[in-house]
Subunit: 225 residues, 2 copies
DNA sequence: AATAAATTGTGATGTACCTCACATTTTATT
DNA sequence: AATAAAATGTGAGGTACATCACAATTTATT
């Protein structure tokens, strides 16, 4: 068995439900690949017979909107990507692009389906993941459409700080244009609000680096607009 | 066995994977209830130990947004509702309200989980449903945020015409305020655009009744903004 | 280190849509 | 049928944000 697979089995909640034999079987049907920032893991519209397991790194899920790219979710390892393709018509319904050095295992769909079939605990965990994805999109959608820019940007900063890096200071892997596509605003507006936040002493930033100086106010802004 | 359950087993793709014994077992753990327009099936924030199977009728899934209700999806029977609750913390993460006379079976969570555990075909179908839900939300989200009002309203009319009623003429079960909450616009704007569409000879409407006169133009509007 | 490419900052201008306000119509309730 | 409550139509006015345009900076490439 490939040694990497054993590690995954510890890190991924779903994979931890697999027996040694199942992991072994899986290890014959998956290939570990390294990706750089900007690389495309999954490309909307293309044919696929793999599930992608994001082993490490960060990626953005995005779809082609009627006018421009729309980033629907930021995903952090460990997570499975491309499940709708597995269960659907084998055409990728969204794109996934790496935003921070990533390791990915491409798992053959049939091997993956076999696991779902034979191991209810595994498939239960996958369902859990699907459900929580759905809820996340619900909430992101409501926030994105109802709040105004300041609130939306505060959300993004807090998301990266709390959910992704667990730090008050981090290097934002998204460009301002990306952030715009994530919260549905123009690049210029993002820039303006960021400088506004800096002037108000809420954050400090230079280049990619963002440091949160006043999380309390950020939370207030997130809540009120 | 309750005779209703046999009917469900035919209509629902997932339930059709169940054996007679499983259906029988299920029938002891579910209760058929009728709901009227406006009734709440699932209420966000409340505790639940049931999955709701929408047997007939129409409902809206909505969540409390930071400022106002947000309708995230319109669901048509047959479908399962409240799955994230089953797999999560048992607190409903969204509300579901009937918009057209509905019959609902409330299935005990444990009975439901037993089925998922014992019947991989069933759980596969459920996963399929979850995946397609996720994709639907992705796309709705992109449309909602990128298109302008005329396009968004055209989308809603087409959705009801094509996906829900399969007819060019139907009684819209949503109020204009609902439509606003679905596409993120004000009630007034919906009203204005609707009369605009009527003036342009695209639709005819009075009260709840909507008749599509020029679907081609509607599609164009949907595509271009 | 030099050059090109990508990303960001910031002003000026425009507009799509929201909000408020009230009249009118439709639907529910007694 | 009468009355109340919801839902809709429509004008006037304001605004948050987009868009355009170009300069300044940062990051990538040779």
């Amino acid at each position: 068995m490939k040694s990497e697979c054993k590690i995954c089995a510890i890190k991924s909640k779903a994979a931890s439900k697999l027996s040694d034999e199942e992991i072994e079987e899986l290890s014959f049907n998956c290939a570990l690949v390294k990706f750089h920032k900007g690389d495309s893991l999954i490309k909307q519209g293309t044919f696929s017979t793999n599930v992608a397991y994001l082993r490490s790194g960060l990626a953005k899920i995005h779809i082609e909107g009627p006018y421009h790219e729309q980033i629907v979710r930021i995903v952090k390892a460990p997570t499975y990507l491309g499940l709708p393709t597995t269960f659907g018509d084998k055409i990728n319904q969204y794109s996934v692009t790496v935003i921070e050095e990533a390791e990915v295992c491409f798992i053959d769909i049939n091997a993956f389906r076999d696991l779902l079939n034979s191991n209810p605990d595994f498939s239960y965990e996958i369902m859990l993941e699907l459900c929580s994805n759905e809820l996340e999109v619900f909430h992101r959608c409501a926030n994105r459409t109802q709040k105004q820019i300041r609130g939306k940007i505060a959300d993004v900063i807090l998301e990266f700080s709390n959910k992704i890096y667990n730090a008050n200071s981090f290097a934002m892997p998204l460009t301002q244009e990306d952030i715009g596509n994530l919260v549905d605003s123009s690049r210029e507006s993002i820039s303006r609000v960021m400088t506004e936040f800096e002037k108000d002493g809420i954050i400090r930033f230079s280049g990619k680096k963002i440091e949160i100086l006043n999380k309390k106010t950020l939370l207030l802004i997130s809540a009120n607009g």
